[in-house]
């Protein structure tokens, strides 16, 4: 039995956070697919997406790890307005990781959708 409790809202928030944690880095990599991007630019895109919006500051540790894992490289570029920006670009292994995620994601998404669809057509269900 499932009862509504005070903690349910935060549990739901946790579900969203868990999902985000799994896919965020690939979305960040995908944003760099066509050209290098700088941090504020990446965050603006994530913000605009809605579901992937997150406490912006938490994306920088993620970018830092992607750099350490050699999935992205960074270069400083001067800007016409304000300070120089640090641009993030995909490395070969970053592109390979993105391609692999792009390959498995549709199957993953469809499988989850199939489970969530109501009524769920279950092969083993002989009522």
């Amino acid at each position: 039995m499932h009862r509504m409790e005070a903690g349910d809202a935060s549990k739901q928030a946790r579900a969203a956070a868990q999902l985000r944690k799994g896919v965020l880095e690939y979305c960040v990599l995908a944003l760099m697919r066509d050209r290098p991007r700088y941090g504020v630019e990446l965050l603006r895109e994530l913000e605009g997406s809605g579901a992937l919006a997150t406490s912006q500051g938490t994306v920088y540790p993620l970018l830092s790890r992607l750099r350490r894992d050699d999935l992205v490289t960074t270069t400083w570029q001067e800007s016409a307005s304000g300070p120089p920006r640090r641009y993030y670009a995909l490395t070969d292994s970053g592109r390979a990781a993105l391609d692999e995620f792009t390959r498995v994601w549709p199957g993953f998404r469809d499988a989850v959708d199939a489970f969530l669809t109501v009524p769920h057509a279950s092969a083993g269900d002989h009522a």
């Binding site: 700088y38 941090g39 504020v40 965050l43 913000e47 997150t54 406490s55 912006q56 500051g57 938490t58 920088y60 540790p61 993620l62 970018l63 830092s64 790890r65 800007s79 307005s81 304000g82 300070p83 920006r85 640090r86």
Partner: protein, 192 residues
């Protein structure tokens, strides 16, 4: 609440403080990334209040926790206290060695008292250890802790047992065997 002249500096200082468990290089990099973000955003959106920019970045604690997780550092939450760090040999030795010493040197009174204390502590350590299941603990404490004591008390304080050196020797040998078998069984059945 005190209003400060430089909320950005306070914010970055808070991140640095919360991320103190990070290696210094990582911490400085994180603070530099955030500082750059704030500067760039201010340049691009001059109308946005600094407070809104900082609010968008989020709670310093959340950022620090994420950085610690990404760096594979155990975060602000301390590692769960490990129970039963006592090596499994300790309770076994405490239960058995004093007993052997008493058999070898039966006339040293201090040794008898010390032996009793050691064996009680050993029994407690055995019972609180994570290396054995409850059933094993009961069997272990009974076989190598209680039985020899009960046997000794019956032997010394009652007239059930036959008098004489030879029966005493046999009794001791049986006790020793029970202790040895019990200890070996406990040692073998322990969990890593």
């Amino acid at each position: 609440m005190k209003t400060t002249a430089d909320p950005v500096r306070d914010y970055l200082a808070a991140v640095e403080r919360e991320a103190s468990a990070l290696p210094a290089g990582r911490r400085q990099e994180l603070v530099a990334d955030l500082a750059e973000h704030i500067e760039v955003t201010r340049a691009e959106q001059p109308a946005t209040p600094v407070g809104d920019i900082l609010a968008g970045l989020g709670d310093p604690r959340t950022i620090a926790a994420t950085a610690l997780a990404e760096a594979g550092v155990q975060g602000a939450a301390p590692a769960p206290a490990r129970r039963g760090k006592v090596h499994p040999l300790v309770p076994l030795l405490m239960l058995t060695v004093p007993y052997l010493l008493v058999i070898l040197l039966p006339d040293v009174y201090a040794l008898r008292v010390g032996s009793g204390i050691f064996r009680i502590v050993g029994g407690v350590l055995l019972c609180t250890s994570v290396h054995w299941r409850p059933r094993q603990k009961v069997v272990g404490v009974t076989a190598i802790g209680l039985l020899p004591v009960v046997a000794a008390v019956l032997w010394n304080e009652t007239t059930i047992a036959p008098a004489g050196e030879l029966p005493a020797l046999v009794g001791n040998l049986i006790s020793l065997t029970v202790i040895a078998v019990g200890s070996v069984w406990l040692w073998r059945s322990r969990r890593a």
